[in-house]
């Protein structure tokens, strides 16, 4: 990763869903090692913005650009995205799931899977089918794929849903390590994730203006 001069920039970004303007004229810039926390009321477009960065939602106007990344890859191909759904299959085991997503997202599955499971406290459950896990364990498995595959940008939509205090602490540690390694995090959350010096972007005010 050429992460030292990484910069994610949005200028005059707008999002339209179902004929309604969710937000417009949105601009921000995040550099390597920094986190951007999205706040705002329901429907202010936090999830939509994350999906736009992940390439899952069309950009109505404005631009989103990543400078200093891999020029061969698109922005979405350098980003990890955790939405409201965990993207898990009950019939697959924990380690199979992680291996598959690592292979799919472009990581070295065999090498990274054990460490990723360890970081989320899932190592003892590696051989269990996902269907046996609790909601919090499933969320942790979804987060483990962030660790298993190196991608510089992490997009987290309410990552702490269903997580207990110990798991939130684990997530905080993993996120701090990612930032220390020169990554970028954009997250929408109600909880303080313990990230020192995170920028905050408040959505919803612009739409009214």
């Amino acid at each position: 990763m050429t992460t030292s001069d990484l910069r994610l920039t949005a200028s005059n970004l707008a999002c339209v869903r179902g004929g309604r303007i969710v937000f417009e004229g949105l601009s921000f810039s995040v550099t390597a090692g920094a986190a951007l926390v999205l706040t705002g009321p329901n429907g202010s477009g936090k999830s939509s913005l994350l999906r736009q960065i992940a390439g899952l939602l069309d950009i109505a106007s404005g631009t989103l650009a990543l400078d200093g990344g891999d020029p061969e890859l698109t922005l979405a191909e350098q980003a990890h995205y955790l939405g409201h759904l965990d993207a898990l299959k009950p019939a697959m085991t924990v380690v199979e799931t992680l291996r598959f997503w690592a292979a799919w997202l472009g990581g070295d599955a065999a090498a990274n899977a054990p460490a990723a499971l360890e970081s989320m406290g899932l190592a003892p459950l590696a051989d269990l089918p996902v269907g046996y896990l609790s909601a919090g364990q499933k969320r942790r498995l979804a987060l483990a794929r962030f660790v298993a595959t190196p991608r510089p940008i992490w997009l987290l939509d309410e990552p702490t849903v269903a997580l207990d205090a110990a798991s939130i602490e684990r997530l905080g540690a993993v996120m701090r390590a990612h930032l220390a390694g020169g990554g970028i995090i954009v997250g929408a959350t109600h909880l303080d994730l313990g990230l020192a010096g995170a920028q905050t972007l408040r959505l919803g005010a612009e739409a009214a203006a």
Partner: protein, 255 residues
């Protein structure tokens, strides 16, 4: 959290004590059952293939009967057992009844398939076709489909308790439907094809043929029961593995 806390004390007792006793009892029964069923099948096959005379009309092909008829009998027996076990499961909530019904299905389906295949092999020289849409064959085929549907339902529902209830309802509805299907199929075929080209009621069966047939039928039945016990034991073990794994997932959440 233990996965069993949602059950009442008596249910917990039933869920554990009964299968445990069944495991102990079946472990002792299995070896003699294997000996008896394999012994009967060996002797029966000897009489069926070697020691009994060929039929004066059908020649050697009559020997297919010694496999075909017991299979067809067990196809019916299997479904009746499945339906009876399902009824017990629905009414008395006996934990072994669900397992019995679930375990009987693939064995019954296998014997139904065997009956269909041996019937086809027998039919080719007799009727000149592998398959004839006669009332009897058609209703056995539909029985086979009922078995497959029952098994597919078990496979489709992930949670065992829910799958058991749904499958039991299906088996009972099927049991009510079987006579109606049978009747309608007979009516259907006699309507279209009055003078049937073949008749199962040939000359009364000779004693030297009756002996191997009886031996084979008995051997098949013992074999069915043996397999049923093996499968039920496997189901209980599967259930235990599931419980242990759920407990492991739950225990890991606490740390």
């Amino acid at each position: 959290m233990s996965p069993m806390t949602s059950l009442s004390a008596s249910q917990r007792l039933q869920a554990f004590a009964n299968p445990a006793r069944f495991m102990a009892l079946s472990a002792r029964l299995l070896a003699p059952l294997w000996v008896v069923s394999l012994g009967l099948l060996c002797v029966g096959l000897y009489y069926a293939l070697v020691a009994s005379p060929p039929d004066y009309q059908q020649g050697e092909t009559v020997r297919i009967m010694y496999v075909h008829v017991p299979s067809a009998w067990l196809a019916m027996f299997g479904y009746s057992l499945m339906a009876a076990a399902s009824a017990v499961a629905l009414i008395f909530r006996h934990p072994l009844a669900d397992l019995c019904a679930k375990s009987a299905a693939p064995i019954g389906a296998a014997f139904t398939f065997l009956a269909l295949v041996t019937g086809a092999l027998w039919g080719k020289p007799m009727w000149g076709a592998w398959w004839v849409w006669d009332a009897r064959l058609t209703s056995v085929l539909i029985l086979f489909f009922l078995y497959l549907g029952y098994m597919a339902l078990w496979a489709a529902i992930e949670e065992p308790a829910r799958a058991a209830r749904a499958a039991a309802v299906l088996a009972l509805v099927g049991a009510i439907n079987v006579p109606i299907i049978r009747y309608s199929v007979v009516w259907w075929n006699t309507l279209h094809q009055p003078a049937s080209v073949f008749r199962m009621d040939g000359p009364t069966i000779a004693p030297e043929m009756l002996l191997p047939l009886a031996l084979m039928a008995l051997g098949f039945t013992f074999f069915f029961v043996t397999l049923l016990l093996v499968r039920m034991r496997a189901e209980i073990l599967r259930h235990r593995v599931r419980t242990l794994r759920l407990a492991r997932a739950a225990a890991s959440a606490e740390d």
